[in-house]
């Protein structure tokens, strides 16, 4: 089994680890780094595993860990500035039920609201359509992101 050493920054900390080349980034984040990355389908259809890669949202199950070499990866745990505002909005709007998809939606919301962008409801729905939630029907998530945008 071929392995490679990957040097990347994860939530602001540089790390160097040896990973099997076949391993997706999502698996390394969840199992090696014990971070909040959920893996729900492994094929890019649900958005549960999304992270920020150099500040841009991507599906971490669709990247090999070795491809993150030299890049900065941010999970929910690394969203310092935005997280409290997002958590407050999600909580106040009862956006989350089982919580399994929450990390992915949090990343998607953080990405959507970057640079002070204030999306409309339609833009929010379009912006999060890559993320599946089976519990909530999305209403609370949309309301939360609208609120977080207004608070920002």
């Amino acid at each position: 089994m071929q392995t490679r050493t990957v040097e990347m920054t994860v939530n602001g900390k540089t790390c160097s680890c040896s990973v099997p080349v076949t391993q997706p980034l999502a698996v390394v984040l969840r199992d090696r780094f014990r971070l909040s990355t959920s893996i729900s389908c492994g094929e890019g259809n649900c958005g549960s595993c999304s992270v920020l890669l150099d500040g841009q949202p991507v599906r971490s199950c669709l990247m090999l860990a070795v491809q993150a070499s030299g890049r900065a990866v941010t999970t929910v745990e690394g969203l310092d500035l935005q997280l409290p505002r997002l958590q407050k909005a999600f909580c106040q709007n009862h956006a989350v039920q089982c919580g399994f998809c929450a990390p992915g939606f949090t990343i998607a919301a953080a990405a959507l609201l970057q640079n002070g962008f204030r999306p409309s409801e339609a833009e929010i729905r379009e912006g999060i359509k890559g993320h599946l939630c089976r519990c909530s029907g999305y209403a609370g998530l949309v309301a939360a992101i609208l609120q977080a945008a207004a608070d920002g």
Partner: protein
Amino acid sequence: MLGKAIHRSEDARLLSGKGRFVSNLQFPDMIHAAILRSPHAAARILEIRTGQARNLPGVIAVWTFADLKDVLKPIPQIAPHPSLRPRTPYPLVDKIVHHEGEPVAIVAAETYAVCRDALREIEVRYEPLPVVLDAEAGLSGSPRVHDDLADNCAAHFGQEAGNVDAALADCDCVITERFSIGRVSAQAMETRAVIARFEPDASTSRLTVWCNTQSPHILRSLLAQQVGLPRFDIRVIAPDIGGGFGVKNRYYPENTLIPLLAIRLGRTVKWVESRRESFLCTYHGREQVHQVTLGLDKTGRIRGLRDRILYDQGAYTTLGIVVPHITTISVPGPYRVPNYQVECTAVYTHKAPSVPYRGAGKPQACFVMERMLDAAAARLGIDPVEIRRRNLLQPEDFPYNTRLQDADATQVLYDSGDYPKCLEKVLDLIGHNSFEREKRDAALAGRKLGLGVACFIEMTGRGPYESGLVRVEPNGHIVVSAGISSQGQGQETTLAQICAHCLEVELGSVHVRLGDTAAIPLGIGVYAGRSAIMAGNAVALACAAVREKLMKAGAAILGVAPEAVEYTGGKVRELADPHRTLTLGEVAMRLYSPALVFPFPAGIDPGLEALRYYKSSRPAYSNGAYAVVVEVDPETGHVKIVRHALVHDCGNMINPAVVETQMTGGIAQGIGASLFEELQYGPDGRLLNASLDSYLLPRATEIPTLRQAHVVTPSPFNPLGLKGVGEGGTIPVAPALAAAIENALGTGMKLTHVPMTPPRVLALSLAAREQSDRTEEALIRS
């Protein structure tokens, strides 16, 4: 505390990425398991060769039925019924495969990647057998799904209230229709997962199993039978669960296999279901065919209804006839049906078992009743809303005896409700009065809008019991437990609200611990909208007992008679001298004191806790009305939901926000099953769309924000006056959407299959256009 939409205590951890999901749990020394599954829906296994797989580096074990035949037993049939000819699977297939995805071999290895490689090395020779893929075909009896049964009939049952033949013979209007509801998959965001650890020297339970199950205690009992350990030697933990929806309530083969691996290999074993496996072998829901006859008088009042149901059971009777039986007693719904006769045949097919999936038989029943009313409205020239008004049960009809019997032979009694009020309110919310004008204006702009409405009821809070445990700790904090686990419905918050209310304490001092057989000895679990009613009332009973003990013990500590104290605001207070008070913590301190000085008076035991069981055999009936406006693209059949509204009555609400999010989520699943979701099989019985890019779940772009309002008619059937909410949203969506689509296209009642995908809607659109072209032509010619 009750009735307040407070924020959920669960959110603190779930929104920080600290949710404890079994699929994410890691243990030192953990190994992984993976399962080889039959690619055939029906087959005889001729030979299995595991030698190559066993030799791969990192592989620890490869087992087939032959390796475990001394220990494997069929999974117990837990829902017996006199009419049922049950069949349940073994945890590994012995000789005959009965549905695609059945487990044929299991591998344990150091890493999941090695497991996957090992699976590829296992060679299985199958002899494919002929398949039965639908209930109607299965009725013929050939081929047979189970060779040792005479045919494919899993069960046949029915009942009658009144005299339908006589009623139908004497009606002004008789309508007959056939409806079919497609098969769906629950598709929770977290797939199933099991972790097992066996510690032969542990002093408490030697076998610990983490499983995202909706019923930890039931799982424990069945697991005990399966692995031959006593119940007390097993602990089942269901921590955070990423969605359940009914299908995580069943006992699956992996629930036996993973613990067996742990016991025999002496390692902690983890198995996580892949997304594809969740389609193949997490059990399915819904598939039914109804042949219905409805008789009405010319004012549109129902005189009689007959329904013949075929239920596609799948290969095994995992939960007996529970789902189709619920359908049989739910068809009349919120309406007065003076004569009703129903018959149901459950048929074995070579598909995964069909089990309760959110709604559990009620969505199908509502679809049938509402569609028949729409058909009758069209036939009789009565407005579809008006025909419902004329048939809805009225407030003065309650408690209403349907004269039907539930599967446990209890009478089906509706407790309370104001059905007409919900209907009127939803019409208001959706803008019914101004809709004709809205529709005309849209038509001028070339857009086809339509409106549809459906009324529904929801049986909730099935018994027979649930447990509640309340314990006051010496620091004044309160620990609450119940025999349920949570899949995100907010029970940690709502049960805390009940406790805080009953014991008059700060919410923050209540800690709810669910999903652990070590936290409470007995329990049933979460399904059929029972958490609030059953666990809620159990916790309330336990709180009442704690409160009573607080007063007795408090009085004894204060040195006064029990009648000389009161309990208010979280304190025991001497009536004659109100400055003399004791907090809960102070009372608990004495009752748990390590100093052993407190003299325990007669009638007072140590500790300050109570375990209570709330027992009930009378479900409470929630109800509501749902309305939807759609826009239909007549050239593509695409349906867009423009807006929708729901008015719902679940009696007293512990937390209105929790109620509303349950309803929104249920509606979303209803929309999925109505417009997008259907499992599709090839002629060989293999699933064609076992992935999220071909089995489509609705996204944020498909579901506009639901307008919601509530009506409150408390239930007289339980002390807290609660009615459940878990399933309601799934029930009325399909018929309301069907009616809205037909309204947009200007057709009569034509949509009789769920889901109503674009091809089906396009067919309707083209037929409608052809019809209107012909009408136009005729007009021009005349």
